[in-house]
Every structure is written in C-alpha cells, then in structure tokens.
C-alpha cells in the first residue's frame, strides 16, 4: 500500500476541503488508487514487465505536460532504469503535440477528420511498439484500428499484455485529468 497518488500530486492535505470532497465519493477515491497499484505494483510481470509499465507511464505523463505527474512517473522509471529514462525523455520531446485529432473511419464523419503527427519510436522491439500505441491512444484514439493491435502482437505482446497496456495508458489519461481538475478546484476556493 502506497500513499494516495492523486492526493499527493494534487497537493491534497488531510482534513482539507478537497480531502472532504473526495471522501464523498469514497469508492472512486479508493479504486483509483487500487487501479494504480494493480498497474504499477503488479502480482505478475508475465505479460508486461515493471520496466515496460514505468517506461510507458513516464512517456504518457510527459506527453500531458503536467510537471508533478510527469516528475512522479519519471522518478519511478529513473530508479529502475536510469539509462532508459534518458531515452524516454527524448521520446517525450519528439512526441509532444496537442490532441485529440485524427481521421474518422466512419465516412459520415469525414468532414470532422483532422490530421496530426504519428509517433515513430526510436526505442527497440516491444517497447517501440508500445510507445507508438500509447501515443496513438493519447492523441488520436479515434484512429485506433485492428491493425494497430496486430503491430503489438507482431512485436511480441500477448493478448492479455495488450489489455494491460491499454488499461495503463487509458488509466493515466484519467488520473492526470483528475489531478489537474482537483488542483484547479482547490486553487479556486
């Protein structure tokens, strides 16, 4: 059990107004933390290693440009794999853009399609495929297609590993938004 990550990164002190507010939705509070623990303190690394989890998280958090969240996940990766952190920071620099964008597969929505960058990771093998997929999920989820999952399978990801990877990226897009929103709500008092 680790300290509540959302509280820590949103700067929520015990007994504060925001602490009391979060307590009104106790399951949401507890299980956002359980999601974090299930993803980052896993019982097994069979399908996704801890280094892979921390590397993807550092990348996704960096793409969101929230200093506290990006710093938290960079620190986790830095403790486990300092050399990899340097390379992940380069990936963040080349991957940064603004979203959501992308072409719709549905012809009826083609008028709303917008183009934007497609990330091409310079990392190796499984991790490169995971970073390209993470960037797709963060910035242009509407473009996701079956062929993107085939790229992950071809790179050695298992079906279960793809589910965990997808959950990890998608959960982080939730966590970073709750942190930013609560921080803003605290400041607006």
């Amino acid at each position: 059990m680790t300290a509540d990550v959302i509280d820590r990164l949103a700067g929520i002190q015990p007994g504060s107004r925001l602490d009391q507010l979060r307590e009104r939705r106790p399951d949401a509070r507890e299980h956002a933390q359980h999601s974090y623990e299930a993803l980052f303190c896993p019982e097994t690394e069979e399908h996704v290693t801890l280094i892979e989890r921390d590397a993807v998280a550092a990348f996704v958090a960096g793409l969101h440009r929230d200093d506290a969240v990006a710093g938290f996940y960079a620190e986790r990766l830095g403790e486990l794999a300092p050399d990899l952190l340097t390379r992940v920071k380069q990936e963040i620099d080349t991957g940064r853009t603004t979203g959501p964008y992308g072409a719709y597969g549905e012809p009826e929505l083609a008028a709303e399609s917008t183009v934007g960058p497609v990330h091409r990771s310079k990392l190796d093998g499984r991790l490169a495929a995971a970073f390209d997929h993470a960037h797709l999920l963060v910035f242009r989820p509407r473009e996701a297609a079956a062929e993107h999952l085939q790229i992950l399978l071809d790179a050695g990801w298992s079906t279960t590993g793809i589910v965990t990877l997808s959950q990890l990226v998608a959960f982080l897009t939730y966590q970073v938004r709750v942190i930013a929103g609560l921080r803003l709500l605290g400041a607006a008092a």
Binding site: A28, H31, S35, P141, A146, L149, Q167, V169
Partner: protein, 183 residues
Amino acid sequence: MKFTQDRIGWRPWLAPLAEEELTDEHWEALVDKARAASPYFLLLARDPHVLHARTKTDNDIFYNADGGLPRAERELAATATSRRNGCVFCASVHARFASHYAKRPADVQRLLDEGVEAEQDERWRAVIDASAALAETPGALNAGHLAALRAAGLDDLAISDVIHSAAFFNWANRLMLSLGEPE
C-alpha cells in the same frame, strides 16, 4: 456510422475470455455478473485486478447519489467527452442515459449532430465546455471553466463530479476505441 442515440453493438478485435474460463477472481472483477454477457468486459477480465478497480471507480462516479451533480449531467459530461474524443459507441450509450434522465433528447441529439460547440443553455454549456477542455491533451481546463460552472449553480461537489465524469470517459473512450469497434 454517425453519432447516434440508437442501440448499437460493439465487437472486440482481440479474443475475450470465454465464460467457462472465468475463475472466482474474474467473477469478482466483473462486479455485476450480468457483465459476463459483454465481450468488452470479458476482454478486460484478462487483467482482473485492473477491471475490478476500474468498475468500482466508474460506479461511484456515476451512481453515487449522495449530493453533487444530478445523474443526467454526469451522463452529459460522459457524452460530451465521448463526442470530443470521437467514441461513437460510448457516446451512444451515455447520450441515451443523458436523454432519459434529463428528458431532453433534442438537446442531446444536437450535441451529437453538431458537436460540443452546438448551442445549449447556460448550465449545459458550462458542463460541456469543461468536459471538452478536459479532453484536450495537454489539459485545457482553466479557472474560467470552473467559474462558469459555479455561476450556473454547481457547488464544489457538483464541479468535482463534472471533473470525474469527464475524466473517467477519457479512460473509457480509449479502451472502447482501441480494443474493438461499433457494429
């Protein structure tokens, strides 16, 4: 397929677990046993701990009736987020809920047809604008969005509910969009 309030299906691109493969841990992760009929939840059950925590988070954000934002507007935030991110399936489900609870199907349909910029009354404008800003990466929610929510009559808990409902659909949209497709 356009954005719609019709009932549509969803087909996974990866193999879900078969019902006969489910262990006690998987059943617990599904939370509601009826979800074993859903290929989406049976696919997510491949990582049962995360599915369980995801579902408990989801249920508290949308079903906890202890004050805060009315259910209709939690569903509105989910619909606006799904519209902005481009998740036709998620938008269909939560547009139906928003229409049902608010009894405003025409306003919801305008959100689906014209997008998050479509004309709405002041209170829905504030909820939709905050949700759309939260869908941006990097995040674009600012103090002006919160002031508009407050001016529309939302208290701190209701504003927190907007934030959580919209944030949660950034999670949900990405799973639905990337693990399968509407049919």
